[in-house]
């Protein structure tokens, strides 16, 4: 199934571009996470895109590197919210903005994800099938929208970033301080009547260093999608992207061969 047709490229959106955006800050990850995500996208996406990284390290590899401000009220991954401002990252009307987490490995062609159709007033994400219910409606690993759709979300956030960044922790909705940006996006989207569309869940695999957890996730995936496996020696061919979602997990901890093949 290929969602992006010629009309999309030469029709009313002629001149629009796809901007794939991520945030990097020193700490949990290393700059090569950005480079490997970028390389994976180049290997597995035939659609033209611009890769933008908002980073406190100028040496990350991307088409455009925007320096993270030294002084900001915005903390950690909440900087992702900045891409919702149409004034940021050189957005133009009609541009399609995709925000991605850098703790992901691209394992198959992602044209259907990168080119997933999106209209004004709509946010596209991938559907969660793993972990405890209720599942998150919006996954921070992949958020797509047309430039301008997220203006009100950004405006709400920047009026009081300190409040929102701790809101979901203070309300005991998340268990880690400064988590909850996905909840914020979902809540604000609903508040402003922005439609949320979820892509096929089986496109996403979940992985980590915990073998028991990996087995459990394999079982859920097999049952949910009637497949023989999620990730064994290699990822299921249906999987396009593997997300290392556990807050305590990093990709470089995992030494499996399939990761070496795809994360480079």
């Amino acid at each position: 199934m290929n969602y992006l047709n010629t009309e999309t490229l030469i029709g009313e959106n002629f001149g629009m571009s796809i901007k794939i955006c991520c945030v990097y800050f020193e700490g949990k990850y290393t700059p090569d996470y950005v480079e490997k995500l970028y390389n994976g996208l180049k290997r597995h996406c035939t659609l033209p895109f611009e890769f933008i990284c908002y980073s406190d390290n100028p040496n990350v590899k991307a088409d455009v590197v925007i320096p993270l401000p030294k002084y900001s009220d915005i903390k950690y991954h909440w900087h992702k919210l900045t891409f919702f401002s149409p004034l940021f990252a050189y957005q133009k009307p009609g541009d399609e903005i995709i925000i991605m987490d850098i703790d992901q490995v691209i394992v198959n062609n992602v044209d259907d994800m990168i080119g997933f159709p999106v209209v004004d007033n709509e946010i596209v994400s991938y559907k969660q099938w793993w972990g405890q219910k209720p599942h998150l409606i919006i996954q921070g690993g992949f958020i797509k929208f047309k430039s301008g759709t997220g203006t009100k979300i950004w405006d709400n956030f920047i009026k009081n970033p300190e409040y929102w960044q701790l809101y979901y922790y203070n309300e005991m909705i998340v268990h880690y301080k400064y988590f909850g940006e996905q909840n914020f996006i979902k809540d604000r989207a609903r508040h402003h009547n922005i439609n949320i569309t979820l892509m096929e869940p089986e496109w996403v695999g979940i992985y980590g260093p915990n073998k028991k957890q990996n087995l459990k996730n394999n079982r859920i995936y097999m049952k949910e999608f009637k497949e023989d496996y999620m990730i064994m020696d290699k990822p299921n061919p249906k999987i396009k992207i593997v997300h290392f979602t556990n807050p305590l997990t990093t990709i470089h901890q995992c030494k499996n061969d399939w990761i070496k093949d795809h994360w480079k």
């Binding site: 908002y54 925007i66 320096p67 401000p69 030294k70 002084y71 900001s72 401002s85 149409p86 004034l87 940021f88 990252a89 050189y90 203006t151 920047i158």
Partner: protein, 190 residues
């Protein structure tokens, strides 16, 4: 006439000073004798601004914050009495004043002298900044509406009724990666 700005700490890089001078020289129409930058950091944050009342005790003085956009010929901003902005664009909050633009002629060093007697007391009492301190303790005049604020205006075209826009708490709009009509008036970032 002397133009003054303050660049202490590392919140604002040197680009901000060069950018202010660029906008003044290119768009404001202001003629000045000297452009001075105060960099001595002896107090907390904005309280370093008060040093200008000690350093410059003669002639006409015009101070600008670094987080502003000057995009046209400015009205006459030189004042004899100490004059600051009236923050007409927002609710009152803790003060009605905004010291992004200040002017005075002659000697206003009594402000610094008062502060210098017990800086800790003043910095603690007025931890939200010097505007409230000026309002509650000194005789201060205010300008008419000589500029406006980016707050609630960031998505609108520039307002040609003014020639100065303040970024106030939205300094990030001046940072790399952000674009708006104001970007065209800035010194390009190398």
């Amino acid at each position: 006439m002397r133009i003054i700005c303050v660049n202490t700490g590392d919140k604002f890089g040197h680009w901000y000073v060069k950018n202010l001078k660029h906008m003044i020289d290119t768009y404001s129409g202001l003629k000045y004798d000297e452009f001075v930058v105060i960099t001595s950091e002896n107090y907390k944050g904005v309280f370093n601004k008060l040093q200008m009342f000690d350093l410059y005790r003669d002639g006409a003085n015009l101070y600008f914050d670094l987080d502003i956009c000057i995009y046209g010929k400015v009205p006459n901003l030189i004042r004899k009495d100490l004059t600051v902005l009236y923050a007409w664009w927002r609710d009152r909050y803790h003060t009605t004043l905004n010291s992004s633009v200040i002017s005075w002629t002659g000697d206003q060093s009594h402000i610094y002298e008062t502060f210098k007697k017990d800086p800790n007391k003043w910095q603690e009492k007025y931890n939200k900044g010097i505007d409230q301190m000026l309002e509650e303790n000194f005789k201060v005049a205010t300008y008419d509406k000589v500029c406006y604020s980016i707050n609630e205006n960031e998505y609108k075209p520039k307002d040609n009724n003014y020639s100065i826009m303040l970024f106030n708490q939205r300094q990030f709009y001046m940072e790399p990666g952000w674009t708006g009509w104001w970007t065209n008036y800035f010194l390009p970032k190398s």
